[in-house]
Every structure is written in C-alpha cells, then in structure tokens.
C-alpha cells in the first residue's frame, strides 16, 4: 500500500518516531518548539512531547551544538537542528574540532552519538547567504558521518539509523524539497546508512548524484529513456565515509559516468567521485567523466540567474545525450 506525503511530512515522521522510541532522544534547535520549526518540520512536536524533549534554543549556534556534544558525551541522544547550513559555520568549531576529534584525541574513550540536522541548498531566491550547498565542507572531515537526504524514503528513515550511530552525524535536508509530494510505500523502510543506492537501473551510462540532484536526475533519466538511452541513476546518500563500491560497480558496467550536484564545482563531492573513478576503474571508461555542478558564484537573487547557477533537468539530459552521441 502506498501513501502520498511531502518531504516535510516524511522528515517529521522520522523525528517523531525517534522521539517515541528512545527517551534519551531530544530535539533542540532555533524555533523548533513554539514557532513549530522555521520550515514547520517540527510543528506540533512540542505539544506532543513537551519542553524537555523539544527545546527552543537561543541564537547561539556554537553554544547549542557544543551543548549537544556534551549531552551526547553524557549519555543522551540529541538531535540538534541548525536551522540552515548557512548558519552552521558559526558552529563549525564545535563540529570539526570537538565532535569529529574527541574519539580520536581520547584514544577511543569518548563517543559523540549526536545527529546534527541542517536545511541545505537553494530554496526560492534567498540570495547569497541563504542558499549554500556546503556538503563538501563537512564531507572533508574524518570522524563525521555525512548523510544527504535525497528521497522521501530517506527523509523518513535516515534519522532513525543516524541515531543508532556512535559517531556524530551531519544530516543534510533540502529546504527546496519540503513541499514536494511523492508516493512511497506505507511500510517503506531503509536498512542502512552506509551505502549509496541504485534508484534506477540502466546499462548505457551512470548518473551519480545526491540531495537535490536525485529527483532531477530521475526525471532526466525518464526523458532519456524516451530517446532510447538507458541511464542508471545512483543516489550517493552517504557522502562520508563515501561508499565507492556502488558507483564503481555501475561505472564498470556502463563505461560512462556523469556526476550532478548543486555544490560549487571546485573541490566538491564530484571532484572526489571523479577522482575515485579515475583511480579505480579508469580502464573501464569509454569517455572522460563529466561533471555538472554549481557555477562558482555566490548565489544571485534573480530567479533566472539562480536557475542557471545549478544544473537543471534539461542540462542533465543535454549533457548525457552529448556523451552518448559523442557530439
């Protein structure tokens, strides 16, 4: 049996279920309680779970992320919401210098079972300071688990698995997808947060993506199918530790790869994926890897420029056709 729900509802179901299952889980973040969440993801949870479990916090990103780390060290299972990735740099010290290093510096004595949720990516014309795609920053750091929620199934299921991790997890959710409705199986469940996923099988080319790229690539693949091109689409899901086996196996089969992401092109996730393809499956390739990435400009406000700043479905379709037809 299927159900239709928005990405927002899927996220909320995930949080709700986590709170129900474990008394040590609590949610804290800016405006998560009385306001109902800046994006209404946690609306109603304060009424359902009370102030102890749903904590509004002041605008102190470093302070409350650090407090989340402390609470995790002391046996709690905090879900810390940083309203958006744009503000997360104010907490970068805590995430990188503390959460990611404490286990190592203590010789394995400490663990930081903390989940930090962040709204990420472009929404609608929010300009240069509210439209960042900074998954690559976090994916650079050993000690962090970095997850990207590209589908409704993951929106509902990833948090539960993330909370089972003994290590700090940065969970990227996409504000631009909150209202997007999809039909998923009522009992759909995900089983792991360690692997990427083949979302559509194909034999002609591998399209590798994550986050906001996932549905765009699936739509592009559907259009390509009508043109007789059978594309395989992979959602990376786990940006660190990166699961290379899934995409390497696919590339070995299709012999062509294109990587799609909203993040800036230089030193990005696609840089890493492309390098690994080159290092590990070079002789399987029929053509150079192609990357479609964010244009290297602070996000402009005007809609037409914003749209042009990140890869769109048509860009993907065009790029794949060009690769297949050797134009």
């Amino acid at each position: 049996m299927n159900t239709t729900l928005t990405y927002r509802e899927a996220l909320k179901q995930g949080i709700r279920e986590a709170l129900q299952k474990d008394e040590n889980v609590f949610l804290m973040g800016e405006d998560v309680g009385r306001y109902g969440g800046a994006f209404a993801v946690s609306k109603g949870l304060l009424q359902e779970f009370g102030e102890e479990r749903i904590m509004d916090v002041p605008l102190s990103e470093s302070g409350f992320v650090g407090a989340g780390i402390g609470a995790a060290l002391a046996g709690m299972k905090p879900i810390v919401e940083v309203m958006t990735v744009n503000f997360s740099l104010l907490a970068l010290d805590q995430i990188v210098n503390n959460a990611a290093t404490l286990q190592h510096m203590s010789g394995g004595q400490l663990h930081v079972p903390l989940v930090i949720r962040m709204g990420c990516g472009i929404s609608k014309q929010l300009g240069a300071q509210h439209s960042h795609s900074w998954e690559p920053f976090y994916a650079h750091v050993p000690g962090l688990v970095v997850l990207s929620v590209g589908t409704h199934e993951d929106a509902r299921g990833m948090l539960r698995l993330a909370l089972q991790s003994q290590d700090p997890v940065v969970l990227f959710e996409y504000t631009g997808m909150l209202n997007l409705e999809k039909e998923i199986a009522v009992d759909s469940d995900i089983l792991d947060i360690s692997k990427g996923k083949v979302l559509k099988k194909g034999k002609d080319i591998t399209i590798i993506t994550y986050g906001t790229g996932v549905y765009k690539c699936l739509e592009a693949a559907a259009e390509l199918a009508t043109a007789g091109i059978d594309a395989e689409v992979i959602d990376l899901r786990v940006l660190r530790p990166l699961d290379e086996f899934t995409f390497l196996a696919s590339v070995a089969k299709t012999h062509q790869a294109i990587i799609v992401e909203d993040a800036w092109r230089s030193v990005s996730i696609s840089s890493e994926v492309s390098a690994r393809i080159m290092e590990k499956t070079f002789y399987d390739l029929d053509a150079p890897v192609v990357r479609l990435c964010g244009v290297e400009v602070p996000m402009p406000y005007p809609a037409q420029l914003e749209e042009a700043a990140v890869p769109q479905k048509q860009d993907i379709v065009n790029a794949v056709k060009k690769m297949i037809h050797h134009d």
Binding site: E52, G63, G66, G70, A74, G75, S106, G107
Partner: protein, 329 residues
C-alpha cells in the same frame, strides 16, 4: 559581594597533607616535563601550570568522583589533582600507547573517562558549551553530578563564553565555571583584551552568581570552591568562580616572554602558593619540616618512576594509524 576573602581548612589533616602533596607533585611534574621537553622526549606544545597549582587542587578537592571535569590545554595539574596517575600522563606526553589517551592526544589532550576527566581541550573556550551540555544531560537524567569547567581569562573574550553562560543560566544546569585568571592570554595582558577586567562581573549579565578569589592561596580557593560546588549541586544552577592567579613560566616552550617584566614575575613568586600553604600547615602543626622533606622525596621518586614508565612505553604500530576515527561496529 564579588570578592571572597574567607579561608577554609581542608576537611582533616589527612586531606590537608594530600593537597600539599598534590601541589608539590604538580610543580615537580611540570619541572620534569620541561626538562624532558628540552631533551626532545616530549614534543608539540607544552604549557606548564607552575604557579597556578592552588586553583586546580583547591577546586577539584571540592568535587565528587562522579562530577565531570573539563580543562584547557594547560591541564596536567588538573589531571594529577583528579587522580590520573603521573605515569599515564607522562606516557601520554611521550606519545606512548600507555598514555591516558593512548598517546593520541599528547600534552594538550589528556582524557580519562574512568576519572570523568574530559580533556585536555585546546581550542580556547570550545569546551565551555560542551560542559553546559554535560550538565544538561545530568539534569535531564536527574543525576546529582555537576560539571566543572576550567578556562583562562582569555576564553572570556570569546563569543562561546557568552553563549555558554547564557545557555547555562537559561537552562539552570549544574555547571561550575572556573576562570583561571593568570592575567595573560598568551602574551596579551588582561587590560588589552577585556574592557571589563574584573571577569567576575561578567556573570551578572546572565544572572549567574559569581565570586573572585585569591588563586594563590589554597585555603581561600578551598573555601570559595566548597561554597560554589555546594550551590551548583543543591540549587542546580551555574556559578562563576574566578581564581586570580599567575603563571610563573612562559606561556609555552616557544615564548620569549617579551610582554612582561621580570620584576613582575618575581613579585608574584613571593606569593607562591606552595610555600604559603606549607607555612599554613606548619602553623597548624599538621606537618613538620622533616615530613615535608620526606614528602618531597616521595614525589621525586614518583616522578622518576613516571619518566621510566614513559621511556619503557610502547609506540603504537603504524597499522593502527586510522583507528579511533569511527567507532567499531
């Protein structure tokens, strides 16, 4: 009243002597560490606690075993006062597997979960929010333990200090903030880094009770710390204790001390906490000169044993390089 001038006796003679032992142990341990550093046995940054011993010893004696302690990168003294063995601290500074952090941390990152000792934190002020979070967990779990967080006055200029103070007061969590005001943030004097140089006054902005105490006088620190800990624990709320102190040595081993006069250092040395406290114990007739000598010999032996232990320690094999990045499933 923001200045505390009261003094308190240790709970009994045995405890009184233990605190002297701890202060001398810290002093001699640090001197030996400097020596081993100059022999290149210890590397990286090394920050000595010499001159400030009364603060760690006076505050930590007020804590229970299940209280959490978080300290800075100048934390050898706190680790010793908390009861972490000198052997494992020295081995840690050598980078040996037998160190309290398996050699992965070094001088600035001493950890011992069995003592509830959570670093060894080397980003100034970064551990204050963590301490608040640990105290929040205690409150949520309805435990009676508190979190005690040491930091320098340099940290009080960081934004995280203010965030942590606000969160602690807002959430009413049992955290004791202990500011070790040694007057210099590396080489920048208090007056060049704070518009309000009386750090204890900063507590008021957050409704946090605060007191300043002479950090060179162990009996004064004991009194202030006992009262502060009692408040934090019984009223479940934060407290700011400022211990005015002085480091006799350079900031680290790479410091030519261009920023202060030698005469100033000499003046402070006249207030050395160890002779002061020894005098107190002698007057109290809790100890004799001969017993002090005996204690010092015992400490010399202990420190030599620590060096021998570290020397005999094991280098972690290279095939373990990537351990402790992610938890083993």
């Amino acid at each position: 009243m923001l200045q505390s001038v009261a003094k308190a006796l240790p709970s009994d003679q045995k405890q009184g002597l233990l605190l002297l032992y701890q202060m001398i142990l810290i002093r001699r341990f640090e001197e030996k560490a400097a020596e081993q550093y100059s022999k290149a046995k210890i590397r990286g940054f090394l920050h000595l606690y010499i001159g400030e011993e009364a603060v760690a010893v006076g505050v930590i004696q007020a804590l229970n075993d299940d209280d959490n302690v978080l300290a800075t990168y100048r934390e050898h003294g706190h680790a010793l006062a908390r009861g972490i063995d000198a052997d494992s601290i020295m081995a840690e500074m050598y980078g040996k597997l037998e160190g309290c952090s398996r050699g992965r941390g070094g001088s600035m990152h001493l950890f011992d979960v069995s003592k509830n000792f959570f670093g060894g934190n080397a980003i100034v002020c970064s551990h204050l929010p963590v301490a608040v979070g640990m105290a929040l967990a205690s409150k949520k779990q309805k435990k009676s333990n508190i979190s005690c967080c040491f930091f320098g006055e340099g940290a009080a200029a960081e934004g995280e200090f203010h965030e942590a103070m606000n969160l602690a007061a807002l959430w009413k969590v049992p955290v004791l903030f202990v500011c070790e005001n040694n007057l210099y943030a590396m080489g920048t004097a208090l007056k060049y880094s704070h518009s309000m140089t009386e750090i204890e006054k900063k507590g008021a902005a957050y409704g946090i009770e605060s007191v300043a105490v002479d950090g060179m006088d162990l009996t004064a620190v004991i009194d202030a710390a006992n009262k502060a800990v009692q408040k934090v624990r019984s009223e479940t709320k934060p407290f700011l204790l400022v211990c005015n102190t002085y480091r006799f040595r350079a900031h680290s081993m790479f410091d030519a001390e261009l920023y202060r006069e030698k005469t100033e250092v000499d003046e402070w040395k006249k207030r050395d906490p160890i002779p002061q406290y020894q005098q107190f114990l002698l007057e109290q007739q809790w100890i004799t000169e001969a017993e002090i000598e005996l204690m010092k010999q015992k400490i010399e032996h202990k420190i030599q044993m620590a060096v021998d232990f570290a020397e005999a320690g094991t280098w972690e094999p290279l095939d373990q390089l990537t351990k402790f990045v992610y938890s083993e499933k």
